[in-house]
């Protein structure tokens, strides 16, 4: 039977925490950008201008059809040289974190836009008509009446998606970027204690995600849309 030895974890905690900060940074940036760009995509998708709605539909369907690993590989292997040429950076600069953020942000915005589209559509149509009847224009109607209600209904789904996103950030492993999982793997590999570190990483992810999704469920009960 295997002899567990957890002694390499306490000393590695600062390094693991650095990794966790990278994971959280990527999650936060991708979430914020994803919601902003996702909102724009959702509005384009619902817009009567055909070219806009076609573009948004194409974007969303493309990103939803390919694996996130593939998106990350595109961004890691191809984007750095592209960004370097664009901004004239030196070839050595490490753009993996920026690439990961960009990749996740563009990828997640496709999923966010579907949530937001459903949220906008959940607001009764009569409200838009009422806004127009009151003399508002489209931007005012969206900004003052439709989106605030839509977002209130969507908050639980947006947060659930953020938990999924946080789990997916472990995939930056494919670029050897030291996020929390990457850090745990490195420590385990270095000390020959991969088993313990992998189990530890799983436990940490479980505690964080389970707590977060339990909180989201409670929030959902409290603010159930009328």
């Amino acid at each position: 039977m295997y002899e567990f030895d957890w002694s390499s974890i306490p000393g590695a905690l600062p390094f693991l925490w650095d990794g966790m900060r990278v994971s959280l940074q990527i999650t936060l940036i991708a979430m914020l950008f994803g919601i902003v760009w996702g909102t724009l995509l959702a509005m384009m998708r619902l817009s009567p201008v055909r070219s806009l709605s076609l573009f948004a539909a194409g974007y969303v369907n493309l990103f939803r059809a390919i694996p996130v690993v593939m998106v990350l590989l595109w961004f890691f292997l191809i984007m750095p040289s592209f960004i370097q040429q664009l901004f004239g950076l030196s070839a050595g600069s490490d753009l993996r974190l920026a690439s990961a953020m960009a990749g996740f942000a563009l990828f997640e915005s496709a999923y966010y836009s579907e949530i937001i589209r459903a949220g906008i559509q959940s607001v009764p149509k009569g409200q838009l008509s009422a806004c127009y009847a009151l003399g508002m224009n489209y931007r005012q109607a969206m900004q003052l009446v439709i989106l605030p209600q839509a977002f209130r209904n969507m908050v639980p789904l947006l947060l659930t998606q953020a938990v999924i996103l946080f789990q997916d950030t472990s995939l930056v492993y494919v670029s050897a970027l030291a996020d929390f999982f990457g850090a745990a793997y490195k420590v385990g590999d270095r000390d020959g204690r991969l088993i313990e570190l992998l189990l530890f990483a799983g436990l940490v992810y479980f505690v964080i995600c389970f707590t977060a999704s339990t909180l989201v469920k409670q929030l959902q009960k409290k603010y159930r849309p009328a």
Partner: protein
Amino acid sequence: MSYQWNWDVFLQPTAAGDDIYLGWMFSGLKMTIGLSLTAWVVALLLGALVGVLRTVPNRALAGIASGYVELFRNVPLLVQLFIWYFVLPELLPQSLGDAYKQSNPILQQFLASMVCLGLFTSARVAEQVRTGINSLPQGQKNAGLALGFTLAQTYRYVMLPMAFRLVVPPLTSEFLNIFKNSAICSTIGLLELAAQGRQLVDYTAQPYESFVAVTLAYLLLNVLVMGAMKKVEDRIRVPGYLGGK
């Protein structure tokens, strides 16, 4: 940018000389499909069982089933995969672990990937099955029991035939997800589509062609699966229900 496009790269013989690069792509595609389909079978069987258990009026069984779902839903797939592949063989009894480690490495990768994807997806399938069962009118269960069916018979003859049909449309997206998630198995060295794409980059230094090809292959898989599921949904939909005729 001075990138040399060269689409003929797929027709060149590989460095190993046994095939052309297009052949690598096809073998990766076959692996992705084989892995996803076998894992889907695991996911459906386990997911149906766990989903049903979550609805039974027995706290212990429902609690175990709900713990199962939470466990597999709150740990990242990549971490689960590494645990199946690196950790589990060490925790097995010595003789079994050794036999496993001495078996064909491709078989080891495939088994770990299949079990991992299957169990991961089964938790999501279970949620859909539970939702399907809970969406049935309460009266159906009561009517079954009132007619003298046991609880098991009520599930078997009244509720499940209905719930399993209702649950097919939401399962389509899980079926699509299993194909996409299978790309993660490239991290333990399984030569599926994404891994073959990366290998092609290493051997030919033509990243754009390789990635475009792999991306198109995933798009194609997506379209095929959606088409197939549309056919299944049409056959199986319940008249009179939402989306039914």
